[in-house]
């Protein structure tokens, strides 16, 4: 089963908790429901984007620091 993770808000997508830290998840990494896969910054406030199921990350669909729209797919997940 393949499912996409969507951005809950418009803003800027980050794959790392801070510029000098490693990414939350790499493509191919296993994820559990509730795992943070990235951040969306909207109006200087940061929101965590979480996986809604157990599986692994197939591919990220946006790059670190890309602008994103609400509802835009951020990553593809395989359950």
């Amino acid at each position: 089963m393949s499912i996409e993770i969507f951005s809950p808000l418009p803003g800027t997508f980050y794959r790392k908790p801070a510029p000098d830290q490693p990414v939350y998840k790499e493509s191919g990494d296993a994820v559990a429901k509730g795992d943070v896969i990235g951040l969306v910054e909207v109006m200087k406030t940061f929101y965590e984007v979480k996986s809604e199921l157990d599986g692994h990350i197939d591919v990220f669909l946006v790059e670190n620091e890309d602008p994103v729209q609400a509802g835009q797919p951020l990553a593809k997940l395989k359950g």
Binding site: L9, P10, G11, T12, D20, M43, K44, P67
Partner: protein, 453 residues
């Protein structure tokens, strides 16, 4: 040499404000903008516009090289930094001047000194300005500092020398907490600000936030009285007024004189604000920091004094001496500003970017609305949530609050949640009407009232 062409290195309502001041003085304007702001009101109002990069601020509004190059290519002879972004970057001020243009603000060295909270505190003490009891400078040794903390009395604040805007602060209530937080604060400060320097200050409980507006030309300095900004959420001001009804005429005279003394001692150039904590119970005031730029809440001062602060900044940057003598500056009536943010106050102030429907803007005597909005505008999610500022004036504070209520009822921003309901509630609140507030009052109030907004 007066300015002929000004590049505005900012966005939003302050860019619009700067364009209007420049237009009044016959100065041509060039609006620097990111990809996300091509349709902004500032771009529409400016004589010319130039794209400086992608939506993310780090790649556009914080990109010194791109901005300086854009200003040179546009033939600008001055750059106004607004507030936020690069307004308090000494590197930016230096780069603008090195490129042969005027920076509308203080010299880079002044920004550097006031940006270092320890150096600013030392400058204040040297000018005879009262500071919050605490360490005389940076502190390194936890044992020695623990002794000092016990002397000034807990609770004490451990602050990062390179911090500001409420960041890099920890409060310790006893010696055990102090030792623990000291280590943490050192690590945090070096990773967040690249500078692990700390200093310690006494916590003034239930204080008011009072600040003094100054204008300097590098030699002379005048003050334009004080503002009170005690209504804050997470150390961000939401409601500001002038004058402060909490300070006596004697305290006001001392406060304003101290601000002039400090600004003069550093040969201050441009518009600046000295921030103080004011203790109602004792009448004591303590300098906390200086902001070396125009502030969001400058319009309340403009309204009680009749001075266009942004225009004065432009004249000073163009090399004119101060036009105003202290005796010419008088205060009349009472002004209040509220910050209209794209946030849902009933839902923990969740940011709310969106597309604005048909905008309804308040008007009439004593009402001013500084905004970046227009009907159909798509508010970008990349920047802060300030949409505009509603400013009202009345003969008295009560009159101003009544006008605020009326003006809020006329303001409608369909399609977006805003902080308007917060201000409508506050304008009817007994404590606010009685001015019985302090810097932590609003957060307490929100705990029991936010859900009803």
């Amino acid at each position: 040499m007066s300015i002929r062409k000004l590049l505005i290195a900012n966005r939003g309502e302050i860019a619009v404000r700067i364009i209007r001041a420049a237009r009044d003085l016959g100065i041509a304007t060039v609006q620097a903008h990111s990809d996300a702001d091509a349709d902004s009101l500032a771009v529409r109002l400016a004589d010319d516009a130039v794209n400086i990069g992608p939506p993310q601020a780090a790649k556009s509004y914080l990109n010194i090289k791109a901005i300086v190059e854009a200003a040179q290519e546009a033939g600008a002879d001055a750059v106004h930094p607004g507030y936020g972004f690069l307004a308090e970057s000494s590197h930016f001020a230096d780069a603008v001047e090195a490129a042969g243009m005027a920076f509308v603000g203080p010299r880079g060295e002044t920004i550097r000194m006031m940006g270092d909270k320890v150096a600013a505190r030392t400058a204040a003490m040297n000018a005879g300005v009262p500071t919050v009891p605490g360490s005389d400078g940076r502190i390194d040794d936890v044992g020695e500092t623990e002794k000092l903390a016990a002397e000034i009395g807990y609770p004490v604040m451990i602050k990062a020398a390179a911090g500001g805007g409420g960041r890099g602060i920890r409060i310790a209530h006893d010696a055990k907490e102090f030792a623990h937080f000291f280590q943490l604060a050192q690590t945090e400060a070096s990773s967040a600000f690249g500078d692990g320097g700390l200093y310690v200050e006494k916590v003034i409980e239930d204080a008011r936030h009072i600040e003094v507006q100054v204008l300097g030309d590098g030699t002379d300095v005048v003050h334009c009285f004080e503002r009170e900004c005690s209504l804050q959420r997470r150390r961000q001001k939401v409601w500001e007024e002038a004058p402060s009804m909490a300070v006596s005429p004697e305290a006001r005279a001392m406060l304003c004189a101290s601000a002039v003394a400090l600004a003069k001692s550093v040969n201050y150039r441009g518009a600046g604000t000295l921030e103080y904590l004011y203790d109602d119970t004792t009448g004591d005031f303590y300098f906390i920091e200086m902001n070396t730029r125009i502030q969001v809440e400058h319009p309340v001062t403009e309204w009680i004094t009749g001075i266009d602060l942004v225009a004065e900044m432009l004249r000073i940057a163009g090399g004119e001496p101060l036009r105003l003598k202290q005796d010419d500056i008088v205060s009349r009536g009472h002004a209040i500003e509220v910050r209209i943010n794209a946030e849902d106050p009933a839902n923990d102030f969740l940011p709310f970017p969106g597309v604005v429907g048909t905008l309804s803007v308040p008007g009439g005597p004593g009402v001013r609305f500084d905004t970046m909005l227009y009907s159909g505008y798509a508010i970008p999610p990349f920047y802060d949530s300030l949409l505009g500022k509603l400013i009202v004036w009345g003969d008295t504070r009560e009159h101003a609050i009544d006008r605020l209520k009326g003006a809020l009822s006329e303001l409608d921003v369909p399609g977006v949640k805003t902080t308007v309901p917060l201000y409508t509630a506050l304008a009817g609140d007994a404590d606010v009407r009685a001015n019985a507030v302090h810097t932590r009052w609003l957060e307490h109030w929100l705990e029991s009232n936010a859900k009803q907004l």
